[in-house]
């Protein structure tokens, strides 16, 4: 059976998904990146190999997420795509009529508007990560509640209290203040969810028409409190897909399925999990820009380089990479 592998390496989680020819998920891995994307991909590949049925043959690979180039070089990607496109592809595959995609991940949040299956507008948070998964994670840890429980607490709230959500630093001091005043934990947590939703709608969805069906995906979609807060604010039903936390990887796999057609895949096989990848960074001395260039190496041989402004390091990587980057943007 032919399968397509999608890998989404983000700031917080690393997700791998294998889909079949129809686009259904055969297997998925969700694990924390823990700041080590190479290890996360290697371990993820290892885990995936053990769980896959024996008759699966990987016919195409796509990578996405902030470490898409790195993971693309490691596994031999057929397509390397930005996460906005990957999320849109996955959402419209699972809910074909989708017109709004809300995606909140570990460090970024996005809104994607589609009409008749085509992306017509999108926005992404800029410098500020207030209201994303990392902040919720941090608050859960501070309150001593497992992040998985966070949503249940929120749902038990009767009177949500007002939290300032414009900035995560202020939100935190506001929460501490409310705790000291004696507000109930549930109400503070749901108040936080509402603040994050307000912040999202004001920053990203500003002036955009949020038409149903609305799909909510990304790691934060697991939080039932966030779903409820969105539904209350928008007065609409929100759809959370079954595999909401790995939608980027599903999108990458779907893109690989489209990209591959009858070509042969570049996939290097699951053995990459046992290869020792090394990265090195150095300052290029070619000019006054002193770009910080990163090299990815195997046994001293350089697979690829990036980070230079002038592009001279990119061309010294393998030609396949250039071809992949080129075909990814065409």
């Amino acid at each position: 059976m032919r399968g397509y592998l999608g890998i989404d390496v983000g700031s917080v989680s690393t997700n791998l998904v294998v889909i079949d020819e129809k686009g259904d998920v055969i297997n998925l891995i969700y694990r924390r990146t823990q700041g080590q994307p190479i290890n996360a991909v290697r371990q993820g590949m290892d885990e995936l190999r053990q769980n896959l049925p024996n008759d699966i043959e990987i016919a195409g690979v796509g990578t996405t997420g902030s470490a898409r180039y790195l993971s693309g070089v490691m596994v031999g990607a057929d397509i390397i795509k930005n996460e906005i496109t990957a999320h849109a592809v996955a959402a419209s595959h699972i809910v074909p009529q989708v017109r709004t995609v809300i995606e909140i991940g570990g460090q970024d949040s996005k809104i994607i508007l589609l009409r008749e299956g085509i992306v017509v507008d999108f926005a992404m948070n800029t410098v500020c990560a207030a209201g994303t998964g990392s902040f919720l994670d941090h608050q859960a840890a501070r309150l001593g509640i497992p992040i998985e429980e966070f949503g249940h607490y929120a749902l038990r709230s009767k009177v949500a209290c007002q939290i300032a959500g414009r900035c995560s630093v202020f939100a935190e001091s506001d929460m501490i203040h409310k705790q000291q005043m004696g507000y109930r934990m549930e109400d503070i947590i749901y108040g936080l969810c509402q603040a994050l939703v307000r912040n999202y709608l004001n920053n990203l969805a500003k002036g955009k028409e949020l038409a149903p069906p609305i799909v909510f995906q990304g790691g934060v979609a697991a939080n039932a409190g966030m779903k409820k807060a969105f539904e209350e604010a928008l007065k609409m039903k929100i759809i959370i897909p079954e595999h909401h936390h790995v939608m980027g990887a599903i999108g990458a796999a779907l893109l690989a399925r489209t990209a591959i057609k009858n070509r042969k895949t570049n996939f290097k096989g699951f053995e990459v999990s046992s290869i020792d990848y090394q990265t090195r960074s150095f300052y290029c001395k070619g000019c006054e820009n002193n770009c910080e260039v990163v090299k990815i190496q195997v046994e001293g041989k350089t697979l690829a380089c990036w980070g230079g402004r002038c592009g001279k390091w990119e061309v010294q990587g393998p030609e396949e990479l250039d071809a992949v980057v080129y075909s990814s943007t065409n």
Partner: protein
């Protein structure tokens, strides 16, 4: 030996370099242009500058530092107004003063005043005033200025024909610009054409098979006409051009999408962003994306946005 005068490769350099170069050369000085923006220039500029200034002005200071030890004087004109009834950015009005107040030893600052609001007669008087320090002959100053004006006209002709300012100034061949998709790049020329500031956006787009249009490729008359469709006349000249270009593309749909590059701390940009976004929403003709640039902008986030924007446009085109 002639005196050497430095011209910073920043801000209005992209608009008027040929005029300034020819004018000064005809007055008998040698010209030194600062190096293209690098990380070193940005760092030296931002460390000297007031924190609240926009990135392009901070970078301008870096270019002053780049020049200071190799010239006798630096040319920092006070460009108050370039057409009747308008002004330029307040920072341009005070640029020589800002430069002099920097905490570093700079050579002499040459700061002729260009102010069209005062009428033709007084405009030329200030040019004669400036020229006096190089020659006693009023005729020579006049001739130098006219030579500058004709160099400027030749320059604008090249820009209209599709050369980027850098290509036109260096007299390079115009790089190929034909892709399956066309993007209009709106924004101040010093943001659109400085490859360091915008993380090499033009080159990247061309590499991805996208052709690029900029405001310099649109005849000034059209820019003027389009900008006049705003209910109230904008009183900043350069911003009128940005608005004019974007409105032009939105109306005749000669591009598939518009990317508007703006500086984070720029007052005018913050107003224009709203004008452009509301016009784009009203017309619904061409997608518009704003890219905000400051000294902290990381390449990764910007590339993701531009890539996704292009994906979206290609997707629509299918």
């Amino acid at each position: 030996m002639n005196a050497t005068v430095g011209i910073p490769q920043a801000l209005l350099f992209y608009k008027y370099y040929p005029l300034w170069e020819t004018f000064l050369k005809e007055l008998g000085v040698d010209i030194v242009v600062s190096n293209p923006t690098t990380k070193k220039i940005v760092n030296s500029g931002t460390s000297l500058a007031e924190n609240e200034l926009c990135l392009p002005v901070k970078i301008f200071f870096g270019h002053l530092v780049d020049l200071k030890d190799r010239v006798d004087a630096i040319f920092v004109p006070r460009v108050v107004s370039v057409e009747r009834g308008t002004y330029t950015c307040p920072k341009f009005l005070g640029l020589p003063d800002l430069a002099r107040s920097l905490d570093t030893q700079l050579p002499k600052i040459l700061d002729p005043v260009f102010n069209s609001r005062l009428g033709r007669k007084r405009f030329y008087e200030s040019i004669f005033d400036f020229g006096k320090q190089f020659t006693k002959s009023k005729f020579r100053i006049w001739r130098a200025w006219m030579a500058g004006v004709s160099a400027q006209k030749a320059y604008q002709k090249k820009l209209l024909a599709g050369a980027t300012p850098i290509e036109a100034i260096a007299d390079e061949q115009v790089s190929t610009n034909n892709g399956d998709l066309k993007i209009g790049l709106a924004g101040h020329p010093y943001n659109v054409h400085d490859p360091y500031i915008n993380l090499n956006l033009i080159k990247k787009l061309k590499k991805w098979g996208v052709s690029v249009a900029t405001e310099e490729m649109i005849p000034p008359k059209i820019l003027e006409h389009e900008a006049n469709r705003l209910p109230k006349r904008l009183f900043w000249s350069y911003e009128r051009e940005v608005v004019g270009a974007a409105f032009h593309w939105m109306r005749n749909k000669s591009v598939d999408g518009i990317i508007y590059i703006l500086s984070f701390a720029c007052g005018q940009d913050s107003l224009i962003q709203v004008l452009l976004e509301s016009e784009a929403k009203k017309r619904k003709s061409v997608p518009l994306m704003s890219l905000v640039i400051d000294e902290h902008s990381g390449e990764a986030g910007m590339i993701t946005r531009v890539e996704a924007f292009i994906d979206m446009l290609r997707w629509r085109a299918v």
